[in-house]
Structures are given as structure tokens and as C-alpha cells.
């Protein structure tokens, strides 16, 4: 099937706006209905966008697992913005969500620290990381929290879930 390029990128925008508006990915049926196209055609566009790394499907399905920075499934990184709660894929993406939604509002992020399993709350206010608090450990500065990137950029697409 020949890919309709303008429609392909309109589908990408629809999916990202759906995430931003609802904190959830649209199903392939939702997308087909929105564009008044067959579900099969919407599925082909989903697969094409997956192949182009615009987002990532669960293996062997048409369910959107990641449209970075948004996660299509619950995760350890919750981002509260403007009355909505989003799941992020990782510690980078938990900051990526307020960055992507920059014009909308400040954010409160709840995340679980790896290995220590402590719950941390971060606030994004006026475009800055304003405060970090380890729950049970009092308020701390943000400088003590660290993000570990395990793989070099050259290997990020080898195994995206691990990355």
C-alpha cells in the first residue's frame, strides 16, 4: 500500500494531541474514526510511524506503548499537569512531558528512585525545577537526584524499553 504522507503525519499529530488531552493513546479504531478511514488503513499508518520511530507499538499489536515522552502504559514516573496525570517512560521523559506541554502549566512529578525504592516528588514551576522532596526524608535540593543513561546514544534503538 502506498503511504499517504500528509495523512501519515496528521495521524502522528492526532496521536500526540490525544495523549496531551487525555493522557492516553488513541486506539487504532479511534484514529480510523477520526480520519474517516478504514481500520486497516489506520493500522498500516500506525505500523509505518512505528517503523519511522515516531512512536513504538507493543510487539505484534497496534497498541501504542510509547510516544516519547508519553507512556501508553502505567509506569513508575507520574506527571501531574493541569489536572491530568500522565505516565512517562523513564526519568528523562518525566521531565520531557512538562517540556512538551510547556505552554500549558506547571507540573508535579512523582517518581520511584531505582535501587533505593524511595518515592520522590519534583515540582516544575515557572520553567524551572523548583523543588525535590524525598518522601519521608524531607525537602532536599534538586542537585542530589541523578539520572543514569545506561547506553550510549548509538545504541538507544537496540532495545528501546531497556534504554
Amino acid at each position: 500500500m502506498t503511504i499517504n504522507e500528509p495523512l501519515l503525519w496528521q495521524v502522528r499529530v492526532f496521536i500526540y494531541n490525544h495523549f496531551a488531552d487525555t493522557a492516553l493513546p488513541p486506539s487504532v479504531e479511534d484514529t480510523a474514526k477520526h480520519f474517516n478511514i478504514e481500520i486497516k488503513e489506520a493500522g498500516t499508518l500506525y505500523k509505518e510511524l512505528h517503523n519511522r520511530h515516531a512512536f513504538f507499538l507493543e510487539p505484534e499489536t497496534l497498541m501504542i506503548r510509547m510516544a516519547n515522552p508519553f507512556s501508553g502504559i502505567p509506569a513508575d514516573f507520574r506527571v501531574h499537569v493541569n489536572g491530568k496525570t500522565y505516565f512517562a517512560n523513564c526519568a528523562w521523559d518525566m521531565l520531557g512531558i512538562p517540556a512538551a506541554l510547556a505552554s500549558r502549566s506547571d507540573a508535579v512529578i512523582e517518581a520511584v528512585c531505582t535501587e533505593s525504592n524511595d518515592l520522590v516528588q519534583l515540582e516544575i514551576r515557572d520553567g524551572k525545577v523548583a523543588q525535590a522532596a524525598v518522601l519521608g526524608g524531607g525537602v532536599s535540593g534538586t542537585s542530589s537526584l541523578l539520572v543514569h543513561f545506561p547506553l550510549p546514544f548509538a545504541r538507544w534503538y537496540d532495545d528501546l524499553v531497556f534504554t
Partner: protein, 74 residues
């Protein structure tokens, strides 16, 4: 990318999983990187980016180690 409370916890995690330590950034560094990387993700004009564009963002964020570049030469 995982969140840690300190270098000590990173070392423990790497040891337990038999993995080498990667690159470690502060929250403030990742926030600055996030703004550069994700600010246009909802834009209709965003169609992905090339390796060169990605590396330019890393450079702009002050990330100069070979870890962030396909080429070993920075």
C-alpha cells in the same frame, strides 16, 4: 533512563545487574536537555530528527562526551 538518589545507588545497581556505568546527569541538566529535545514534539512540523540534529542538541546542552555521539571524535 532511571532515577537515583546518589552515585552510591547507581554503583550498587550497576554491580547488581553486571552493567557498566553509563553517563550520569543531574536533574537540572536533564531538565535543560528535555526542553531542547521535547519542546516541539506536539508541533505538526515535527517529523523526527536526524542523527546530526540530535547531536547538535546534545552539544547545545553541554554534553560533550563521546557517549552522546555516533562518532568518537567530538
Amino acid at each position: 533512563m532511571l532515577l537515583f538518589q546518589s552515585e552510591e545507588w547507581i554503583e550498587r545497581w550497576c554491580r547488581r545487574n553486571n552493567l557498566e556505568r553509563g553517563e550520569v546527569l543531574s536533574i537540572d541538566q536533564v531538565w535543560e536537555l528535555s526542553k531542547l529535545w521535547y519542546h516541539d514534539r506536539l508541533s505538526p512540523n515535527y517529523h523526527g530528527r536526524t542523527v546530526e540534529q540530535a547531536e547538535e542538541i546534545f552539544k547545545h546542552a553541554g554534553l560533550m562526551a563521546a557517549f552522546w555521539y555516533l562518532s568518537k571524535e567530538n
